[in-house]
């Protein structure tokens, strides 16, 4: 059944929703990357909440013009206009007053949302048009999605992706280094507005499927997920689009299989699952990798300290150190070094002495900067340099590790 949903074999409406949601997920993931890199992720929350009054006003206007007020393009246009006004409010508040951006976002978000709810209530009591279902813009509703609705989403998503493709270089430059971007002739204020406009476009076309409260998750979670897997902006945008699309595809399919499951929230949860997996398992930045790295490092520190203690015939108190030495067959259970242990210990001691001289000598300044007490000195200095230092130490010239 779930497989049928994934492969679009679960009926016309379900397929429409799945395709539409996937397109939306891809464009939200790609657009969100630049929003996140510009550190403006939360502005999208203000944008999305500011759509609500527009939806209400558009409905009222369309009813006044004699329609039933349900035409999706009209409602989305209203949403776009009012979220644009909300966006300008955030930008004015931060530029012209001493309010910080988070305060401006909070103010705009709540006032616009409150106004929108009041409008929706008025519409319900008006009794004109077909107001039922207007509140579905809050959390999205895919039950009655029409082919034309899907078309609007597909067209909007494609246009947004095209715009991101065209603007990717100036947007990256701006996000990384705004001052430098300005010296290259990029109008910083205008490019910032362009990023916001793209986020707004995604928000507006996403209203039908995930609704205005949760759309912010589709803009933010995929890029954060993608960041775990790559250190390149272009790859990050691709992976983010992939994560967004995948989450929407799986989420929409799941909600198609289980009746009365809300599409938007399920998509967000699937998206979160991808995030949680990445957080744990990503190779470099993941939690697991960081933990293993830490353990490896700790192991090296204990090993080194243990060897230095052996070399100087000092007792070893730490049980972990002792265990490591025993496991490596460098020491016997009673703390007496084996032959291998003695050789390794002598080498560790000699390296430590070499580092001591390196750190004291100005000539080795750049090498000394790499001193961490663990690194094999051969990886930092040339054989000639090591020989030179060994001359100063005296004693045996060759130590085999």
């Amino acid at each position: 059944m779930f497989w049928d949903a994934l492969t679009l074999q679960l009926g016309y409406n379900a397929s429409l929703v799945t395709v539409g949601a996937t397109l939306l997920g891809i464009s939200a993931g790609v657009t969100g990357t630049f929003l996140y890199l510009r550190k403006r992720a939360l502005v999208s929350d203000a944008i999305s909440h500011a759509t609500l009054p527009g939806v209400g006003i558009a409905f009222i206007v369309m009813v006044a013009l004699g329609g039933d007020g349900r035409a999706l393009p009209g409602l989305l246009l209203g949403a776009a206009v009012s979220s644009w006004i909300g966006l300008l409010c955030v930008s004015w508040l931060t530029r012209l007053t001493r309010l910080s951006e988070d305060a401006a976002i909070g103010a705009v978000l709540s006032v616009f949302f409150g106004f929108g709810i009041v409008l929706l209530t008025i519409i319900q009591t008006m009794g004109a048009g077909r107001a039922a279902g207007l509140e579905s813009f809050l959390l999205g509703a895919t039950a009655g999605m029409l082919f034309n609705d899907a078309l609007v989403i597909a067209a909007g998503g494609t246009l947004t992706l095209l715009a991101v493709l065209i603007l990717r270089r100036p947007m990256t430059l701006l996000a990384f280094d705004p001052e430098y971007a300005a010296t290259r002739g990029i109008n910083v204020a205008r490019m910032d507005l362009a990023i916001m406009a793209l986020a707004m476009a995604v928000t507006v076309i996403g209203l039908k499927i995930v609704g205005l409260i949760l759309i912010v998750a589709m803009l933010i979670i995929p890029p954060v997920t993608a960041r775990f897997w790559t250190d390149r902006t272009d790859q990050m945008a691709l992976i983010s689009g992939l994560c967004g699309g995948l989450a929407a595809w799986i989420g929409a399919s799941m909600s198609a299989v289980a009746p009365a499951m809300p599409t938007g929230p399920i998509i967000v949860l699937v998206s979160f699952a991808l995030f949680a997996l990445s957080l744990m398992l990503a190779p470099n930045r993941g939690v697991l990798a960081a933990y293993l790295r830490h353990r490896r490092f700790q192991r090296r520190v204990h090993m080194r300290q243990g060897l230095l203690a052996l070399a100087q015939s000092q007792p070893i108190y730490e049980a972990y150190t002792m265990r490591l030495l025993k496991q490596a067959k460098l020491a016997l259970p009673d703390g007496v070094p084996t032959d291998a242990g003695r050789a390794r210990a002598a080498k560790a001691l000699r390296d430590e002495k070499r580092w001591e001289l390196v750190r004291a000598d100005q000539a080795f300044e750049s090498a000394a900067a790499l001193y961490d007490g663990l690194r094999d000195i051969e990886t930092v200095l040339t054989a000639d340099q090591i020989n030179e230092i060994d001359q100063r130490i005296g004693g045996p010239k060759e130590v085999t590790p």
């Binding site: 990256t172 990384f176 280094d177 430098y180 010296t183 290259r184 390149r232 902006t233 750049s366």
Partner: protein
């Protein structure tokens, strides 16, 4: 009684500016809030020379550069670049910002940062090709960072980060290089690498202007100085303008006389 200022001030008409100066600033005033950081400053940068902008902390050194580049909006004043308005001659300037001004955890590699210098050449849609990569690698080589091309920028030391920024500016193939504290907090190897590159730029006839902190290296690194403490104090060749009197005017009493004597010794 005739009142004399340390340096000319007021609003000089732009027409008087030497038409070919790589960077000429007239009557520049910038303020954050009600307090001017830079007040009515004129500056005429000499072509083909290395100029140090010198002054105490908070004296408006960086702000002057940023206002000249249009990064911050001045209250008054204007800048011309090679006799043209800024917008018409932007492509002839390469700016090296302070290292601390960006987030080094940004998902980008060293080579990508240098490729940003080719922004004008690449435009919006052109693909990055072998010749662009070759150019970027050549710039990295000039600053001695070839081996780091594929590293994530967060893995670099402060000095290496500074060199990558310089490589990005080199990729622009500009005629005027403006650097904001290129030697701040860098290791000795980096300082040498950077000054070597800047001197080679000068020998190619390029113009270099750098905000500079270390008074002891002014004589060995630079040809000209521009002394500023909100207001312009002096401008000219090192031998004319980098004098104990001018330094005293610039730093108020903040430099001990002993320090200045040492600078004099370095000169002789």
């Amino acid at each position: 009684m005739k009142v004399e200022l340390a340096a000319n001030m007021g609003v000089a008409p732009m027409a008087q500016v030497l038409a070919q100066s790589p960077l000429a600033v007239r009557g520049m005033t910038v303020s954050y809030g009600q307090k001017p950081v830079v007040f009515s400053v004129d500056m005429t940068v000499a072509e083909g020379a290395m100029t140090a902008i010198i002054g105490p902390n908070g004296a408006g050194k960086s702000t002057l550069l940023k206002a000249a580049l249009g990064i911050v909006q001045p209250l008054a004043g204007q800048a011309t670049v090679f006799g043209q308005p800024l917008e018409a001659a932007r492509h002839r300037i390469a700016y090296v910002p302070q290292r601390a001004s960006v987030d080094w955890d940004f998902p980008t590699r060293v080579i990508d940062v240098v490729l940003m210098g080719l922004y004008r050449e690449l435009g919006l849609l052109r693909r990055i090709r072998g010749k662009h990569l070759d150019k970027a690698r050549a710039c990295l080589e000039r600053v001695g960072m070839t081996d780091f091309a594929d590293r994530q920028i967060g893995q670099l030391s402060g000095g290496q980060q500074q060199r990558v920024f310089l490589a990005r500016a080199l990729a622009q193939e500009a005629d005027l290089y403006l650097l904001d504290e290129p030697f701040a907090g860098v290791d000795a190897a980096t300082e040498k690498a950077i000054i070597d590159v800047l001197k080679s730029l000068r020998s190619e006839g390029k113009t270099v202007v750098a905000v500079h902190h270390d008074l002891t290296t002014v004589r060995s690194y630079f040809d000209r100085v521009f002394l500023i403490n909100t207001r312009k104090i002096a401008e000219g060749s090192v031998s004319e303008a980098f004098t104990p009197e001018n330094l005293n005017k610039t730093y108020g009493g903040r430099l001990a006389t002993g320090q200045i004597d040492q600078l004099e010794l370095a000169a002789s």
